[in-house]
């Protein structure tokens, strides 16, 4: 077993043990904090498929996070007000059921990723970054002006949505759901990276012309990766909205897209657990340094600087040694 695998297992064990401890010690806030970390990890794991394997630096992944959030918000809003979403040509009611909400969130964000990918993947490098950013801003301002669903103020959902067989109002149970989603996404990501598709996507990042010469279309590889990536981040958005029982346009903000990228860089680009480590570190620092100074972002920025300058493999690179080069 490599050092990286051991480290990943340790992280996973921590994510299982810590909230159980907090539950037994009756510290629900710690569980909420861990839930936040796990959901943000999930969002960044989604981005890591596009960025880590495919080399696609998307500065618009908050779009999918926001779509997931609004999928939850809109469905739950209609359910709690007993107003159907749509009456003609057929009746669509709101719902408080998580599985249905997740399905809608995943499909909606995958569709959005497909369309955005079709347009933006024709470019590369800095133009790709700018186009994804522009899409992010479009969605952000659309959400602000969408007064039917709270506009700038966002909207609150009174009671957390339900999951069959669980009481999601109990923090540890909701945490378990989120952790399960994260573990599934990580397993999927790992399998994808080793599959023929993942290898070809990786190769397309390195030498696109050679990939064409063996009969594969880099554009199509990237489009599929971007769509999967968006769908996973969309699921994270639905969970995030449920955690806060609140949805607002900030879920679409470009700062959030940037934070997803930062998680990956801090944890380790193209490392399976990179986004998890980055997101957890972010949440911990945000909470502890944030409680000590309002300007905690300065300290976080310093950490980012140190990692980018001196530890190009991110935290995992520092602990588990250099991975295969990524460049």
């Amino acid at each position: 077993m490599t050092r990286e695998t051991l480290f990943n297992l340790a992280v996973l064990a921590g994510l299982v043990a810590l909230p159980i401890y907090a539950h037994l010690a009756d510290e629900p806030f710690t569980i909420t904090l861990a839930t936040r970390a796990v959901i943000l990890s999930l969002a960044a794991v989604g981005l890591n498929i596009a960025l880590g394997i495919g080399g696609l630096v998307s500065l618009g992944h908050a779009v999918f996070f926001g779509i997931g959030g609004y999928a939850m918000g809109i469905l739950a809003f209609h359910a709690q007000n007993y107003m159907p979403l749509m009456e003609a040509p057929f009746l669509i009611e709101g719902t408080k059921s998580m599985p249905v909400i997740w399905l809608v969130a995943v499909i909606a964000s995958a569709l959005a990723a497909l369309v955005i990918g079709l347009l933006s993947l024709r470019t590369s490098g800095v133009y790709f970054i700018m186009i994804t950013l522009a899409f992010g801003q479009m969605f952000y301002y659309f959400a602000i002006s969408w007064s039917a669903y709270g506009g700038e103020d966002g909207m609150s959902i009174y009671v957390r949505n339900g999951f069959p067989g669980l009481n999601t109002l109990i923090p540890i149970q909701f945490y378990g759901l989120c952790l399960a989603a994260l573990v599934l996404a990580l397993g999927f990501n790992g399998a994808l990276a080793r599959s023929r598709f993942g290898l070809a996507l990786n190769a397309a990042r390195q030498v696109p012309d050679r990939v064409r010469a063996v009969g594969l279309d880099p554009f199509r590889l990237r489009l599929v990766a971007f769509t999967i990536s968006g769908a996973i981040t969309g699921l994270a958005g639905a969970l995030f909205a449920d955690l806060n029982r609140f949805v607002s346009p900030t879920m679409f903000s470009w700062q959030l897209s940037g934070e997803f990228i930062v998680f990956i860089i801090i944890g380790g680009t193209a490392r399976l657990f990179g986004p998890v480590v980055g997101a957890c570190l972010f949440v911990v620092l945000e909470h502890y340094i944030g409680g000590w100074s309002d300007y905690w972002h300065i300290w976080f920025g310093l950490l980012l600087l140190v990692i980018v300058l001196f530890g190009r493999g991110g935290v995992i690179g520092l602990i588990a040694g250099k991975a295969r080069a990524h460049g």
Binding site: R196, G215, H326
Partner: protein
Amino acid sequence: MSALLQVEGLKATYGASQALFGVDLQVASGEVVALMGRNGMGKTTTVKCICRLLRAEGDISFDGKDLRRLPAHRAARLGIGLVPEGRRCFADLTVQENLTAAARPGPWDMGKVGMLFPRLGERRTQVARSLSGGEQQMLAIGRALMTNPRLLILDEATEGLAPLIRQEIWEAISQLKRETGMAILIIDKSLKELTQVSDRAVILNRGRTAWTGALDGLDPELAHRYLGV
């Protein structure tokens, strides 16, 4: 016999400078054709046009299909396997991953590539960037074979390699010719080996087809003029 690859009146330009002025070239099924000429005469450019990695004017057809309408990856899928100049393996992937990424269904698989190049079989889990130049070249050939091509194009496959490794690669090429009947288009500078392995040669001069025929019938004076030997 109708040609598998048919190129007629091929013209190509890089920006403002024209590189090809009319290349004619045919490769029949099972035939090994040498594409020769001094440096800068348009050999690699011709190959890039065939593989649709460069825009070109003129007729290029493969197995009766017009290649000019197809994007590069579709041309490759018809059965053109390119071993590019300068190897260019997927540096961050292992030998096995390089081969897997390229695999398409057909008789060529990881085991057969390992038999053709035992060195690769021994280094399956090694990352491509850590291989020697010769091993990278073998990997590039193996990767092209994994796509199960009907036409294999080798662009300077033995350039810059140690004599012993070159010999291994030439042996692999003759083995391919003997055992598979795969059509092969080879760009290379070693007249001796090409004379042995090829059925026919096409010599380019200043972006045009200057001579074509079996290499043992090449007049020494022409060889000197076109190949500098």
